[in-house]
Symmetry: C2
Subunit: 300 residues, 2 copies
């Protein structure tokens, strides 16, 4: 499964419930990663980790449940940055990750340790251990993903997305093998441009999926042509020409055999087979039902 943050994390929770232990491998986006207060933060990997570990704040939609915000407030008192909201519980993870990275571990090694500490029987792989950072080109200028998304509240329309470092980024260990060995490849209901795009920008990964011998099924992130959360619909309108299932399918041309769309978007036509389902993952049960539909359509 290829995954961005929150939507992907919820879909991963459904897949984990529908599959047996050690049957799920998630390739996570690292294009949103950033350094905050000197700490290495991987928002999408963390959303997946927190959601699978039952630690996520599902109401807020990101971060941990029961979170407090004292360290960030204190840092700001001493002149530190506080534009990127990091809670105290969240900070604990970033401290452990950052120290491990500084001691020479790779992001995939650290991530595997965190998955093991959480007692999870899934494989969570960053798309790359190398720095690959998403930037968005807007009428107001080019911004790093988080500067645009968080600091500017993603108000700027996006004309293009670029992935700094993609040219020299290598797939993290196990990523290509995982794609080659998979019984099915799934693309989560994540933003095609800024969540799945950075994964596909790692040299070799798009080709790995294009040359698949198994089915690849994508799930549209739109419901009734609208994003559940975030700017996916606006980006599809401006960069993809529209928000119909055909426009979503076009983002994954040559990559998906089927696209799962919400009932609200049916009937529709697209160059790939469309599967209609309820895609809103209101809770774990809904996520599992969606996962089961996707797996039925993905596994031959």
């Amino acid at each position: 499964m290829l995954s961005g943050g929150v939507g992907g994390a919820r879909f991963a929770r459904g897949l984990k419930a529908a599959l047996g232990p050690d049957e799920l491998t998630i390739i996570g986006n690292v294009g949103d990663d950033l350094e905050v207060l000197g700490l290495a933060v991987s928002p999408d990997l963390d959303s997946i980790l927190y959601t699978l570990a039952g630690l996520s704040d599902d109401e807020r939609g990101w971060g941990r449940a029961g979170e407090t915000w004292n360290a960030l407030a204190a840092a700001a008192e001493w002149g530190g940055e506080d534009w990127f909201r990091i809670g105290d519980l969240d900070l604990g993870l970033h401290l452990v990750r950052t120290r491990a990275l500084r001691e020479g571990a790779s992001l995939s090694e650290v991530t595997a340790r965190l998955v093991a500490e959480a007692g999870l029987r899934v494989e969570l792989l960053p798309a790359s251990d190398d720095p690959l950072r998403t930037h968005v080109v807007t009428p107001a200028g080019t911004f790093s993903f988080q500067e645009w998304f968080v600091a500017r509240g993603h108000v700027d329309e996006v004309d293009a997305v670029v992935f700094d470092g993609a040219h020299s980024a290598r797939p993290a260990p196990r990523v290509r093998d995982a794609l080659a060995e998979a019984d099915a490849i799934l693309i989560a209901p994540s933003n095609p441009f800024v969540s799945i795009g950075p994964i596909l920008a790692v040299p070799g990964l798009r080709e790995s999926i294009e040359q698949r011998r198994v089915r690849c099924v994508g799930v549209s992130p739109l419901i009734g042509g609208r994003a559940v959360k975030g700017p996916a619909d606006r980006m599809l309108s401006r960069m993809g020409g529209g928000t119909t299932p055909a426009h979503v399918a076009a983002c994954y041309e040559g990559l998906v055999d089927k696209l799962v769309i919400d009932e609200a978007d049916a009937p529709a036509e697209a160059p790939v087979e469309l599967v209609v389902a309820q895609t809103l993952m209101t809770d774990g049960a809904a996520a599992q039902r969606l996962a089961e539909v996707v797996l039925e359509n993905a596994c031959v």
Copy 2:
């Protein structure tokens, strides 16, 4: 003023109240400094900073009032160390300091920024910007200061104190000038071995005080031959031969002209003039009264 942590911090608060703005320069111990979860922690400098800024937890005796402990608990969940207690509010300062150090600032530059952020009109100087770390030699082995003090609860008797890095440590900028320009030099009621000792171990600083043209007055950390807190009395017994004012004075031979002792330790004899006062700093007013006695005896 030469200062260790809590006792020195309280004395500094009294001096700050007794003096005008910009009249107090504090040279702080860095021998206790350590790295925790990849963060640079300076416990003594922070005790001084928090106490002067009115942020300290006077009941607990260290750290900040209103502290929470969520980040450390979360770090431990992910496999991080939690033997050294760092609260969330405290963490905010360590994050800001660590990032500034990694960006190339010196400890004294960072400390000056923190003092300015707190709006304090005092000068707080680390004894050295270079790594100088206190280790204690005990029957159970040699330990770093915090390993002995915190992790082992300072149960081991101390036979000797060594200062790793002292040989090549240089006084931080302004330290020698501050000693040369001072109207009086004061030694806080801190542990002579592990709080004041590391300051005097920085090459040149002992000599700066020995060659003073002003008075130097020390304050004994003992009351009735006992430490208010911590292992100063046990260390004086074992390494200094006793806990009388004469034994305390011997720690500062050639360095102090007078030693302020508590009423509980009088009458006593020592090779330097003894000044009797109430030295227990139960609150800010008591600290200010002690500071005023010391200043009267220090300023010619």
